[in-house]
Every structure is written in structure tokens, then in C-alpha cells.
């Protein structure tokens, strides 16, 4: 796993990613293609903006009554025969899952559709306790075989080309060397996973939506693997962040229309599976996980980041994400949404992420639940600096700049001197210590500034 100890920041990792420019182009175009599919799907719905607004308001309402709806959900789920667990943090979540497996003497589990377990590092935890976990989503399985974290919340192995996937399959699943035909690879994965599904007694899935009024939860998949895992196992464990709740079943209509259109441009996932109660003789568990969410709920400026339905649209549209890759964020959730969620979990470790953006605002405008992502990035920058997670050199530079810009006389003088230096001694700025100059020419300094021109050519309005 990446991210342990002091590692390189987003900028440094993005720099490495950009050393292979054709690959950056491929990554960018692949994700842009998905963004365009999203546009087509969204534009086919005339009421799209109303739908976004409605979803945003349902989530705002839910978040402001979260404890009430969680209790309603617990009561109804229990009445349905589901066992409900509460986990304050990742550690507790992992312990709860492990205790359920232990109780049933299970040492192998199949898993599907859960970014939350990535956030909690469940696989590592269970491996340390002697439990083998097989991820059953094709993309997740591929990165698991490659021993990498997912690089995208919806498309976990979007950073891998099919030839590279072919190599992984050759090594781990015995396909022919050089085979990269997606159909052959998918069929191989299917056979490999089928054996897994048939032999696992416990299955863990994520949750896309949990409905307070019915105590049911909904899992959206394209591959049907969540159903396969859950239906064949004796024990189904569903892990969900507490923000996945919606008050009523009728609200699903709003979210299911938005989720997949935003994610991949499909009208809906192949399967929207409702789980309401365990079959006779089987067990169904729901683990409600906080892990920093109630802290975020208490941060007024960042509260509505919890509206996120994990569609990944902000990643696909983000020009920085497309050109730096998911792994450069060193967080289970990468991209713009990850950059406003991660500092809440560990501000020091993720202090770089709010700065991994140009604040272009595209994320905010594709977001199906209207999270003001780029405004929150701006606000996190202020918090990160105030909390002292900033380079001392940068802080000193900012102070100097503020001093110059706060004094009209100094500004005039500094501007003149600066332009003079740039014309007379260009080496002062055109050197390898200047990151601007590495791949860009400096602006050509004119002989006179606008204010100097204005003094000569127009009446003065000095105060």
C-alpha cells in the first residue's frame, strides 16, 4: 500500500506520471471519453439540473437529520432480521468484520463493490489475521492481483492498459503469454471467480444506498458479482458509511437516475439489487461506519462533501486527475472529491491534496449532488495553512508578496526593478531553479508598465 510514512506529494508523483507523455495522453483520453458519455446521457434528460438540485436537497435534509434516520434504519433493518453493527472508525469496522468471520469459522471471503473497505484497509487487516479476501469486481480483482490500490472509485484499474492486464492474467491465472483480447481475459476472470463464488461461505459488499423507512439497502453493479457472492454465501456482510442513507424508498428514483449517468453515461447499472432480509438459515449484517464522517458533519464549510454518492464524475472531468493518475493522490478516494474528504481523515498526510487543483470548477458542475467541490478545495487550503501544514519557504514568500502588494509605492518600484532585471539580466529568472522556466518562456517585460503609460497619456486620478 502506498501512503505509509513520509512519501512524495501529489506534485512529485504527478511529475513521475508525466515522464511518459503518450501514456498521459492515453489516460486523459480514456477518461475524457467517459466524461463525454456522461454528457450525452445528462443532456438526454431535460430536467437534469432539477434532478441534481433535488438530489442535493434530499441529501442536505438527510445529513441534517442523520442520527434520526440512522436509528430509523437500524430499527427497520433489525425488524427485517438484519444484524446492525456500529463502527466508530476503520479499526472497529475491521474488527467487527473479523469477529463475524471468526464466529462462522470462515477463512476465505469474497468481496464486491466497496470503496469503504479500501478506506479502512480491510484486506490488509484480514490478511494479517489469516483470512484471504478475493475481490470479485473485475477491475478490483485486477489491481488486487497486481498488488496495487484502485486508482479510481468506479474504474479501479483504469490506469492499466489491456496488454498489462494480459500480463497479470498470464502470471496469475495462466492465460497464454501476450493474450490481451478483452473477451478472453473477461472469460478467464469469470471462470476463476465462479469457483470463488461457489466455495466462499461469506460475502462482503458495499452499499450504494440504505433506505431508512424500509431498512433495506441497495447495491448497484454491472457485473452481477455482488448478487452472486451474496446469494451463494451463508453470511452477507454489508459495510456502509453512515452518509449512504436516504430517508425513503421513493428517493431512490432520483439517485438511481443520476448515479450511473454521471459515472459512466449508462442510463442505469445492469443490476440495482435490493437486500432486505436474510434467507432462512442465513445471516445478513450491516456495519454502519463513521470513520471521521461525524467530524466532517461538524465542519460547516465541508459538511456537504458527505452528499457524495461515489459516482466518480468529478475524477473523469478533472483535468488534473486525468493527467496525474489516481495513485498520485495516495488516498482510497482520489481526485477532487478525495481531495476534500482526505484532509478530514488525516490533514497532515493529505495537506497537499487541496492544492492539486486549478480550481477550474468543472467538478462542482458535473457533481450530481451539487457539492461545491472547488470552493471546498479553496477553503481547505486556508485550513491547511492555518494549521501549519505548509512549507516555511512558501509561507515566507507569501508574506513578502503580500507586503509588496499592500504598498502602492513598493509595488511600483518592485515592478519596475523586476522588469529591468528581466530585460538586463535574464539569467536571474531564466534558470533551472525557476519551475516556470523549465518548460515555458518568461513573459517579455515591456519598457513601461500600464501605469507609466497612463501617467503620460491620460489625466491623473491620484489620491
Amino acid at each position: 500500500m502506498m501512503g505509509a510514512g513520509k512519501t512524495r506529494d501529489h506534485s512529485a508523483l504527478a511529475d513521475v506520471f508525466n515522464q511518459d507523455e503518450p501514456r498521459v495522453n492515453w489516460h486523459d483520453e480514456t477518461l475524457w471519453f467517459i466524461r463525454q458519455k456522461r454528457d450525452k446521457a445528462a443532456f438526454a434528460i431535460p430536467d437534469w439540473e432539477l434532478l441534481r438540485e433535488t438530489a442535493s436537497q434530499i441529501k442536505a435534509h438527510t445529513l441534517s437529520h442523520l442520527s434520526q434516520y440512522l436509528q430509523e434504519f437500524e430499527k427497520n433493518a433489525q425488524a427485517n432480521g438484519i444484524t446492525v453493527h456500529w463502527a466508530a472508525d476503520a479499526q472497529e469496522h475491521n474488527e467487527i468484520v473479523f469477529s463475524i468471520l471468526q464466529k462462522h469459522g470462515v477463512d476465505r471471503m469474497v468481496k464486491s463493490k466497496s470503496m469503504l473497505t479500501e478506506e479502512c484497509h480491510l484486506n490488509d487487516y484480514l490478511a494479517r489475521h489469516g483470512i484471504e479476501v478475493i475481490d470479485s469486481d473485475l477491475g478490483e480483482r485486477i489491481v488486487q492481483l497486481a498488488q496495487e490500490p484502485p486508482s479510481h472509485i468506479v474504474l479501479p484499474c483504469i490506469h492499466k492498459k489491456k496488454e498489462e492486464i494480459g500480463e497479470i492474467f498470464h502470471e496469475h491465472l495462466g492465460t497464454e503469454a501476450g493474450m490481451s483480447d478483452p473477451q478472453v481475459l473477461t472469460e478467464t476472470a469469470r471462470q476463476h471467480l465462479r469457483e470463488t463464488f461457489l466455495t466462499r461461505r461469506a460475502a462482503l459488499t458495499g452499499v450504494n444506498f440504505a433506505v431508512a423507512e424500509t431498512g433495506e439497502f441497495v447495491v448497484c453493479t454491472n457485473e452481477g458479482n455482488a448478487d452472486m457472492g451474496a446469494h451463494l454465501a451463508d453470511v452477507h456482510i454489508a459495510s456502509m458509511g453512515i452518509e449512504k442513507l436516504i430517508p425513503r424508498r421513493e428517493h431512490l428514483g432520483v439517485f438511481l437516475r443520476l448515479l450511473t449517468r454521471s459515472a459512466t453515461g449508462q442510463p442505469i447499472t445492469t443490476y440495482s439489487s435490493h437486500f432486505r432480509k436474510p434467507r432462512p438459515g442465513h445471516e445478513m449484517h450491516v456495519v454502519l461506519v463513521d470513520n471521521g464522517r461525524s467530524v466532517q458533519l461538524g465542519r460547516e464549510d465541508f459538511r456537504n462533501s458527505l452528499k457524495c454518492i461515489r459516482c466518480g464524475a468529478c475524477m473523469n472531468t478533472c483535468p488534473v486527475y486525468r493527467r496525474s493518475g489516481g495513485h498520485s493522490y495516495k488516498s482510497a478516494v482520489a481526485g477532487p472529491i478525495g481531495s476534500i474528504l482526505a484532509p478530514n481523515l488525516d490533514m497532515k498526510k493529505h495537506a497537499d491534496l487541496p492544492f492539486a487543483s486549478t480550481l477550474c470548477g468543472s467538478c462542482t458542475n458535473v457533481c450530481p449532488v451539487k457539492i461545491d467541490i472547488h470552493d471546498q478545495l479553496y477553503k481547505w487550503r486556508q485550513v491547511v495553512v492555518q494549521e501549519g501544514h505548509v512549507d516555511a519557504k512558501k509561507a515566507a514568500g507569501m508574506k513578502a508578496m503580500a507586503a509588496v502588494l499592500s504598498s502602492p509605492a513598493t509595488f511600483k518600484l518592485a515592478g519596475k526593478a523586476g522588469r529591468l532585471f528581466m530585460r538586463r539580466v535574464p539569467l536571474l529568472v531564466n534558470n533551472s531553479f525557476n519551475p516556470w522556466y523549465k518548460q515555458r518562456e518568461m513573459p517579455q517585460p515591456p519598457n513601461e508598465s500600464f501605469r507609466e503609460w497612463y501617467r503620460k497619456n491620460r489625466k491623473q486620478h491620484d489620491q
Partner: protein, 246 residues
């Protein structure tokens, strides 16, 4: 009507031609324009880097210099958006709030306040329009591809009034150029890659000139174009709207 002309710090120092064109355009439209000499900067360079707490000097100067005008106009969507969203004053908060409501980016001032319907301008070139994010998404100068809404574009509306000008289409008409303030140096690799990709799009569609309503984006693109030894030029939209080429 008296307009206070707010010229971004780096435009004052590096791109006086854009500022002169802005002034002349407004004067030609019959507006009385004044450039208060003690102005410096909107404070965005510090604020976007997380140092909003260091911007009070800039903020107070802005209020002192501009509170008296009917409108404040600036040839930068980014600086205007920053003022609109973040201007405060310890000494004169009411004035600061007032300024937030009467500060305009040049293009929107021409289309929405002056309601310009003709221009005496001629610029016989193939022009690519770079839509700066803060102007486009922040000030809503044009429809964005993310939003399901009818198309409109205030900069295109004005460029279409210029004789001889041919606007080229782009594959990605509103993708960010990667300037992003201090992002351009703190995230140098991604910033430059984004700029290169924007330029490639313009070049593939035959642009002779890349224009836009934010000189900061254009400065970044110009830096890359010049490093590539390209003949393609960047020009602020004011320079084109004010052009009288034969």
C-alpha cells in the same frame, strides 16, 4: 457614468497593451474611465495559496481606490471573481460589499451593462477562444459543457462583431489551461501538460491567434508557445475587439 478601471497587477507590469486596449474600448463606448493610481492587486495570489489572512492590505487598498465609482471594470474574469467572492474590509465593510456588487469583467460589462451591439473593429485572422474557467464557470460568461442548459457565450457574441474574424471550433471548448495561479509552479508538470494539450487543440484547428478574457491563462499558454517556437500569438480579447487591422 464613471468607471474605475481595475488593471490586474501582472497585466500592469507585463501586458500594458491589454490594459490600453481595455481603456480605449471603454472610452470609445462613451464611458468616462479613471485609473486610480494607488491600486495594486486583488489579493488572489495569496488567497488561492491558502493565505487569505494576508490579503487585508490588498483588500483595503481596493476599497479605498474603487468605492467611489459607479462601476469597476477589469479585463480579468479571475480577479473579478475573486473580488466578488472574497472582498472584505475591516475599515469599510459596507463599501466592500457594495464593490462586490458593482465589479464587472470587461466582456460582461460590454454585453450586459453597455449592451454593445456593434464594434468598429477589424481583425482578419483565425482566432481560437480560450475560455478561462473563472470567467466562464465563475462569472457565467458562457454556457459550460457540464451543465444541461441552452448554449450562450458572451465573448463569442462580441468576437462575432469583429469584421474578418474567423472563430475556429475546438475539440474541448472549455477545458482548463492549467495555469491555476501558484499551481503553475507548484504542480509544474501537470500545469504544463494541460497547457500543451490546450495549445494542440487550437493548433489542430488552425488558430493563428489564441484569445481569451484572462491574460494569466494566456501568459501561461504564451510561455509554452514561445518555447515551442510557434508563430501562434496570444492576445487579450480587448486587443482584438479594439483592433483596426486593414
Amino acid at each position: 457614468m464613471t468607471v474605475g478601471l481595475f488593471i490586474p497587477c501582472y497585466v500592469d507590469q507585463f501586458y500594458p497593451k491589454a490594459a490600453i486596449a481595455t481603456l480605449e474600448l471603454l472610452e470609445k463606448a462613451g464611458v468616462q474611465v479613471e485609473f486610480p493610481a494607488r491600486q495594486t492587486c486583488c489579493g488572489q495570489p495569496m488567497a488561492n495559496s491558502g493565505f487569505e489572512h494576508l490579503t487585508s492590505g490588498c483588500n483595503e487598498l481596493l476599497v479605498e481606490n474603487f468605492a467611489q465609482y459607479d462601476y469597476i471594470v477589469s479585463p480579468s474574469g479571475s480577479c473579478v471573481l475573486h473580488v466578488k467572492e472574497h472582498l472584505h474590509s475591516h475599515k469599510q465593510e459596507a463599501q466592500a460589499q457594495n464593490i462586490r456588487g458593482k465589479v464587472y469583467e470587461l466582456v460582461e460589462f460590454l454585453t450586459d451593462v453597455l449592451k454593445v451591439e456593434s464594434l468598429n473593429a477589424r481583425f482578419p485572422h483565425k482566432v481560437g477562444l480560450h475560455q478561462s474557467c473563472h470567467g466562464q464557470r465563475g462569472l457565467r460568461l458562457s454556457q459550460m459543457t457540464e451543465r444541461v442548459e441552452p448554449p450562450f457565450s458572451k465573448p463569442e457574441q462580441l468576437l462575432n462583431l469583429v469584421q474578418g474574424l474567423e472563430l475556429i471550433p475546438l475539440s474541448r471548448k472549455d477545458e482548463c489551461c492549467g495555469f491555476g495561479g501558484t499551481f503553475c509552479v507548484t504542480e509544474e508538470a501537470v500545469s504544463v501538460k494541460m497547457g500543451k494539450d490546450r495549445i494542440t487543440d487550437h493548433l489542430q484547428h488552425g488558430a493563428e491567434v489564441i484569445t481569451g478574457s484572462d491574460m494569466s491563462c494566456l501568459m501561461h499558454l504564451e510561455g509554452i508557445l514561445r518555447r515551442q517556437k510557434s508563430n501562434v500569438k496570444v492576445m487579450h480579447i480587448a486587443e482584438i475587439l479594439n483592433a483596426q487591422e486593414a
